[in-house]
Protein backbone atom coordinates (compact mmCIF):
# COMPACT_ATOMS: atom_id res chain seq x y z
CA UNK A 1 0.00 0.00 0.00
CA UNK A 2 1.97 2.96 -1.14
CA UNK A 3 0.88 6.51 -0.62
CA UNK A 4 -0.84 5.67 2.64
CA UNK A 5 1.33 8.16 4.45
CA UNK A 6 1.02 11.04 2.09
CA UNK A 7 1.58 13.69 4.72
CA UNK A 8 4.49 11.66 6.11
CA UNK A 9 3.52 12.69 9.62
CA UNK A 10 2.63 10.39 12.43
CA UNK A 11 -1.05 10.30 11.61
CA UNK A 12 -1.64 6.94 10.07
CA UNK A 13 -4.69 6.84 7.89
CA UNK A 14 -4.42 3.11 7.44
CA UNK A 15 -4.13 0.62 10.25
CA UNK A 16 -0.52 0.24 11.23
CA UNK A 17 0.92 -3.24 11.03
CA UNK A 18 1.08 -5.25 14.23
CA UNK A 19 4.86 -5.37 13.88
CA UNK A 20 5.11 -1.63 13.61
CA UNK A 21 2.95 -1.20 16.73
CA UNK A 22 5.02 -3.74 18.59
CA UNK A 23 8.24 -1.91 17.71
CA UNK A 24 6.73 1.41 18.81
CA UNK A 25 5.64 -0.20 22.10
CA UNK A 26 9.15 -1.55 22.55
CA UNK A 27 10.74 1.81 21.84
CA UNK A 28 8.44 3.58 24.29
CA UNK A 29 9.34 1.08 27.03
CA UNK A 30 13.09 1.30 26.38
CA UNK A 31 12.86 5.10 26.44
CA UNK A 32 11.02 5.00 29.78
CA UNK A 33 13.75 2.77 31.14
CA UNK A 34 16.29 5.25 29.76
CA UNK A 35 17.98 2.46 27.81
CA UNK A 36 17.70 4.32 24.51
CA UNK A 37 16.75 7.77 23.33
CA UNK A 38 14.75 8.45 20.26
CA UNK A 39 17.42 10.91 19.06
CA UNK A 40 20.17 8.30 19.36
CA UNK A 41 18.11 5.87 17.30
CA UNK A 42 17.51 8.58 14.65
CA UNK A 43 21.21 9.38 14.44
CA UNK A 44 22.21 5.74 14.15
CA UNK A 45 19.69 4.95 11.46
CA UNK A 46 20.74 7.91 9.33
CA UNK A 47 24.45 7.24 9.89
CA UNK A 48 24.09 3.66 8.72
CA UNK A 49 21.80 4.57 5.84
CA UNK A 50 23.98 7.37 4.56
CA UNK A 51 27.51 6.46 5.48
CA UNK A 52 27.31 2.86 4.47
CA UNK A 53 26.02 3.46 1.01
CA UNK A 54 27.76 4.92 -2.01
CA UNK A 55 25.72 8.18 -1.91
CA UNK A 56 28.67 10.54 -1.58
CA UNK A 57 30.65 8.98 -4.40
CA UNK A 58 27.54 8.94 -6.59
CA UNK A 59 27.10 12.69 -6.00
CA UNK A 60 30.68 13.30 -7.08
CA UNK A 61 30.20 11.26 -10.26
CA UNK A 62 26.90 12.94 -11.16
CA UNK A 63 28.42 16.37 -10.67
CA UNK A 64 31.33 15.43 -12.94
CA UNK A 65 28.89 14.27 -15.61
CA UNK A 66 26.95 17.52 -15.71
CA UNK A 67 29.75 19.99 -15.02
CA UNK A 68 32.77 19.70 -17.36
CA UNK A 69 34.82 22.19 -15.33
CA UNK A 70 34.25 20.15 -12.18
CA UNK A 71 35.12 16.98 -14.07
CA UNK A 72 38.45 18.52 -15.10
CA UNK A 73 39.22 19.55 -11.51
CA UNK A 74 38.21 16.12 -10.25
CA UNK A 75 40.55 14.32 -12.63
CA UNK A 76 43.39 16.76 -11.95
CA UNK A 77 43.14 16.69 -8.15
CA UNK A 78 40.57 14.30 -6.72
CA UNK A 79 41.31 15.18 -3.10
CA UNK A 80 40.64 18.89 -3.61
CA UNK A 81 37.63 18.33 -5.83
CA UNK A 82 35.79 16.11 -3.35
CA UNK A 83 36.55 18.61 -0.60
CA UNK A 84 34.61 21.17 -2.64
CA UNK A 85 31.54 18.98 -2.11
CA UNK A 86 32.28 18.56 1.59
CA UNK A 87 33.83 15.11 1.43
CA UNK A 88 37.34 14.55 2.60
CA UNK A 89 39.67 12.71 4.86
CA UNK A 90 41.16 10.72 2.02
CA UNK A 91 43.77 11.27 -0.69
CA UNK A 92 41.98 10.39 -3.84
CA UNK A 93 42.79 9.92 -7.49
CA UNK A 94 39.85 9.67 -9.86
CA UNK A 95 40.32 7.59 -13.00
CA UNK A 96 38.00 8.04 -15.92
CA UNK A 97 36.43 5.31 -18.05
CA UNK A 98 36.26 6.11 -21.76
CA UNK A 99 35.12 4.06 -24.76
CA UNK A 100 38.67 2.70 -25.09
CA UNK A 101 39.73 2.44 -21.43
CA UNK A 102 38.17 0.63 -18.49
CA UNK A 103 39.54 1.14 -14.98
CA UNK A 104 39.43 -1.36 -12.16
CA UNK A 105 40.34 -0.70 -8.53
CA UNK A 106 41.83 -3.26 -6.20
CA UNK A 107 43.91 -3.27 -3.05
CA UNK A 108 46.34 -6.13 -3.44
CA UNK A 109 47.80 -5.76 0.05
CA UNK A 110 44.71 -5.44 2.19
CA UNK A 111 41.45 -3.62 1.62
CA UNK A 112 42.19 0.09 1.17
CA UNK A 113 39.01 1.65 -0.10
CA UNK A 114 37.49 5.15 -0.33
CA UNK A 115 34.90 4.49 2.39
CA UNK A 116 34.10 8.18 2.84
CA UNK A 117 32.71 8.15 -0.68
CA UNK A 118 31.31 4.70 -1.28
CA UNK A 119 30.73 3.19 2.15
CA UNK A 120 32.28 0.11 3.65
CA UNK A 121 33.94 -2.32 1.26
CA UNK A 122 32.00 -5.39 0.16
CA UNK A 123 33.21 -8.75 1.39
CA UNK A 124 34.50 -9.84 -2.02
CA UNK A 125 36.70 -6.74 -2.30
CA UNK A 126 38.63 -7.95 0.73
CA UNK A 127 38.90 -11.54 -0.47
CA UNK A 128 42.26 -12.97 -1.47
CA UNK A 129 40.66 -14.23 -4.65
CA UNK A 130 39.63 -10.79 -5.90
CA UNK A 131 42.88 -9.16 -4.77
CA UNK A 132 44.99 -11.61 -6.73
CA UNK A 133 42.79 -12.31 -9.74
CA UNK A 134 41.88 -8.69 -10.47
CA UNK A 135 45.52 -8.13 -11.36
CA UNK A 136 46.20 -11.46 -13.03
CA UNK A 137 43.07 -11.90 -15.11
CA UNK A 138 40.98 -8.73 -14.93
CA UNK A 139 39.01 -9.52 -18.06
CA UNK A 140 37.83 -12.83 -16.61
CA UNK A 141 36.98 -11.22 -13.28
CA UNK A 142 35.01 -8.48 -15.05
CA UNK A 143 33.11 -11.06 -17.08
CA UNK A 144 32.15 -12.82 -13.84
CA UNK A 145 30.74 -9.50 -12.62
CA UNK A 146 28.75 -9.31 -15.85
CA UNK A 147 30.93 -6.75 -17.63
CA UNK A 148 31.82 -7.83 -21.17
CA UNK A 149 34.40 -5.53 -22.73
CA UNK A 150 35.55 -5.56 -26.35
CA UNK A 151 39.02 -7.04 -26.79
CA UNK A 152 40.17 -3.63 -27.97
CA UNK A 153 39.32 -1.99 -24.63
CA UNK A 154 42.37 -1.41 -22.48
CA UNK A 155 41.93 -2.40 -18.84
CA UNK A 156 43.89 -0.39 -16.29
CA UNK A 157 44.34 -1.73 -12.78
CA UNK A 158 44.76 0.69 -9.88
CA UNK A 159 46.23 -0.68 -6.68
CA UNK A 160 44.93 1.29 -3.68
CA UNK A 161 47.14 1.95 -0.72
CA UNK A 162 46.85 3.55 2.68
CA UNK A 163 48.19 6.78 1.15
CA UNK A 164 46.15 6.96 -2.04
CA UNK A 165 42.70 5.63 -2.90
CA UNK A 166 41.16 5.39 -6.33
CA UNK A 167 37.65 6.01 -7.55
CA UNK A 168 36.42 5.15 -11.03
CA UNK A 169 34.49 7.82 -12.90
CA UNK A 170 32.18 5.62 -14.98
CA UNK A 171 30.90 6.56 -18.41
CA UNK A 172 27.60 8.40 -18.40
CA UNK A 173 25.01 6.12 -20.00
CA UNK A 174 23.30 7.12 -23.22
CA UNK A 175 19.78 8.49 -23.02
CA UNK A 176 20.28 10.34 -19.74
CA UNK A 177 20.58 13.84 -21.18
CA UNK A 178 17.37 15.04 -19.56
CA UNK A 179 17.99 13.60 -16.09
CA UNK A 180 18.72 15.89 -13.16
CA UNK A 181 21.93 15.61 -11.19
CA UNK A 182 20.08 13.82 -8.39
CA UNK A 183 18.49 11.39 -10.83
CA UNK A 184 21.89 10.70 -12.36
CA UNK A 185 23.42 10.07 -8.92
CA UNK A 186 20.75 7.46 -8.26
CA UNK A 187 22.02 5.45 -11.25
CA UNK A 188 25.60 5.26 -9.99
CA UNK A 189 26.35 2.08 -8.11
CA UNK A 190 29.15 1.27 -5.72
CA UNK A 191 30.36 -1.43 -8.09
CA UNK A 192 30.58 1.03 -10.97
CA UNK A 193 32.89 3.25 -8.88
CA UNK A 194 35.12 0.24 -8.13
CA UNK A 195 35.06 -0.62 -11.82
CA UNK A 196 33.34 -4.01 -11.66
CA UNK A 197 30.14 -2.68 -13.23
CA UNK A 198 29.10 -0.12 -15.80
CA UNK A 199 26.32 2.39 -15.21
CA UNK A 200 23.18 1.35 -17.00
CA UNK A 201 20.60 3.73 -18.42
CA UNK A 202 17.43 4.07 -16.29
CA UNK A 203 15.28 1.75 -18.40
CA UNK A 204 17.85 -1.03 -18.16
CA UNK A 205 18.44 -0.36 -14.45
CA UNK A 206 14.72 -0.80 -13.76
CA UNK A 207 14.58 -4.20 -15.42
Amino acid sequence: MSGAHGDHGHHHREPESVLSLRVRALESLLIEKKLVSSEAVDRIVSAYEEDIGPHNGAKVVARAWVDPAYRARLLADGTAAIEELGFGGVDLQVVENTPGVHNLVVCTLCSCYPSALIGLPPVWYKSFEYRSRAVREPRVVLREFGVELPESTEIRIWDSSAELRYLVLPERPAGTERLSQAELAALVSRDAMIGVAVVKPPAAAAR
Binding site: L19, S20, K33, A40, R43, I44, A47, Y48, D51, S189
Partner: protein, 112 residues
Protein backbone atom coordinates in the same frame (compact mmCIF):
# COMPACT_ATOMS: atom_id res chain seq x y z
CA UNK B 1 29.38 13.14 18.09
CA UNK B 2 28.00 11.36 15.06
CA UNK B 3 27.87 7.60 15.36
CA UNK B 4 30.34 5.90 13.08
CA UNK B 5 29.12 2.71 11.42
CA UNK B 6 30.86 -0.23 12.98
CA UNK B 7 32.39 -2.89 10.80
CA UNK B 8 31.40 -5.56 13.26
CA UNK B 9 27.77 -4.67 12.57
CA UNK B 10 27.97 -3.66 8.93
CA UNK B 11 30.04 -6.68 7.92
CA UNK B 12 27.99 -9.43 9.55
CA UNK B 13 28.22 -12.46 7.31
CA UNK B 14 26.12 -15.43 6.32
CA UNK B 15 22.46 -15.56 7.31
CA UNK B 16 22.93 -12.64 9.72
CA UNK B 17 24.21 -10.31 6.96
CA UNK B 18 22.21 -7.06 6.78
CA UNK B 19 19.87 -6.88 3.78
CA UNK B 20 21.34 -4.56 1.18
CA UNK B 21 20.62 -3.26 -2.24
CA UNK B 22 23.49 -1.82 -4.24
CA UNK B 23 25.57 -1.81 -1.07
CA UNK B 24 23.08 0.28 0.87
CA UNK B 25 21.08 -0.94 3.81
CA UNK B 26 17.47 -1.60 2.98
CA UNK B 27 14.69 -0.85 5.43
CA UNK B 28 11.44 -1.70 3.67
CA UNK B 29 9.37 -0.17 6.45
CA UNK B 30 10.14 2.46 9.06
CA UNK B 31 9.86 0.04 11.98
CA UNK B 32 12.75 -1.98 10.56
CA UNK B 33 15.05 1.03 10.82
CA UNK B 34 13.79 1.73 14.36
CA UNK B 35 14.50 -1.78 15.62
CA UNK B 36 17.91 -1.74 13.94
CA UNK B 37 18.70 1.63 15.55
CA UNK B 38 17.53 0.57 19.03
CA UNK B 39 19.68 -2.54 18.92
CA UNK B 40 22.77 -0.65 17.79
CA UNK B 41 22.12 2.14 20.33
CA UNK B 42 21.92 -0.31 23.21
CA UNK B 43 25.12 -2.04 22.13
CA UNK B 44 26.81 1.40 22.07
CA UNK B 45 25.65 1.90 25.63
CA UNK B 46 27.20 -1.47 26.49
CA UNK B 47 23.88 -3.00 27.52
CA UNK B 48 25.22 -6.03 25.66
CA UNK B 49 28.08 -6.91 23.34
CA UNK B 50 27.24 -6.95 19.65
CA UNK B 51 28.33 -10.57 19.36
CA UNK B 52 25.74 -11.53 21.98
CA UNK B 53 22.99 -10.05 19.86
CA UNK B 54 24.47 -11.58 16.73
CA UNK B 55 24.42 -15.02 18.35
CA UNK B 56 20.73 -14.57 19.21
CA UNK B 57 19.99 -13.41 15.68
CA UNK B 58 21.76 -16.36 14.07
CA UNK B 59 19.94 -18.73 16.38
CA UNK B 60 16.56 -17.15 15.64
CA UNK B 61 17.16 -17.25 11.87
CA UNK B 62 18.13 -20.93 12.08
CA UNK B 63 15.04 -21.65 14.18
CA UNK B 64 12.72 -19.84 11.76
CA UNK B 65 14.27 -21.67 8.80
CA UNK B 66 13.83 -25.03 10.51
CA UNK B 67 10.20 -24.25 11.23
CA UNK B 68 9.69 -23.09 7.64
CA UNK B 69 8.46 -19.67 8.79
CA UNK B 70 7.99 -17.03 6.13
CA UNK B 71 9.01 -14.22 8.49
CA UNK B 72 11.26 -11.46 7.18
CA UNK B 73 14.83 -10.76 8.25
CA UNK B 74 13.80 -7.89 10.55
CA UNK B 75 10.91 -9.84 12.09
CA UNK B 76 13.52 -12.40 13.13
CA UNK B 77 15.76 -9.57 14.31
CA UNK B 78 12.90 -8.26 16.47
CA UNK B 79 12.33 -11.68 18.02
CA UNK B 80 16.06 -12.10 18.70
CA UNK B 81 16.26 -8.62 20.25
CA UNK B 82 13.26 -9.25 22.54
CA UNK B 83 14.81 -12.56 23.56
CA UNK B 84 18.13 -10.92 24.39
CA UNK B 85 16.43 -8.19 26.44
CA UNK B 86 14.45 -10.84 28.34
CA UNK B 87 17.60 -12.93 28.95
CA UNK B 88 19.39 -9.86 30.30
CA UNK B 89 16.45 -9.00 32.53
CA UNK B 90 16.12 -5.64 30.74
CA UNK B 91 12.57 -6.12 29.56
CA UNK B 92 9.75 -8.34 30.75
CA UNK B 93 7.92 -9.98 27.81
CA UNK B 94 4.57 -9.52 29.58
CA UNK B 95 5.15 -5.78 29.89
CA UNK B 96 5.86 -5.52 26.17
CA UNK B 97 2.75 -7.54 25.28
CA UNK B 98 0.68 -5.23 27.49
CA UNK B 99 2.18 -2.07 25.99
CA UNK B 100 1.64 -3.40 22.47
CA UNK B 101 -2.05 -3.96 23.26
CA UNK B 102 -2.31 -0.39 24.49
CA UNK B 103 -0.93 0.84 21.18
CA UNK B 104 -3.26 -1.47 19.26
CA UNK B 105 -6.33 -0.21 21.08
CA UNK B 106 -5.25 3.35 20.49
CA UNK B 107 -4.88 4.02 24.22
CA UNK B 108 -1.39 5.22 23.55
CA UNK B 109 0.03 7.03 20.59
CA UNK B 110 3.47 8.19 21.64
CA UNK B 111 5.19 10.02 18.88
CA UNK B 112 8.77 9.31 17.98
Amino acid sequence: MEPVPSREIADMKGAAALPRKNGELVFDEAWQGRIFGMTVAMSHEACFAWREFQAHLIEEIAHAEREGESSSYYERWLTAFEQLLADKGLLDPGTLAERTREFQCGHRDDVF
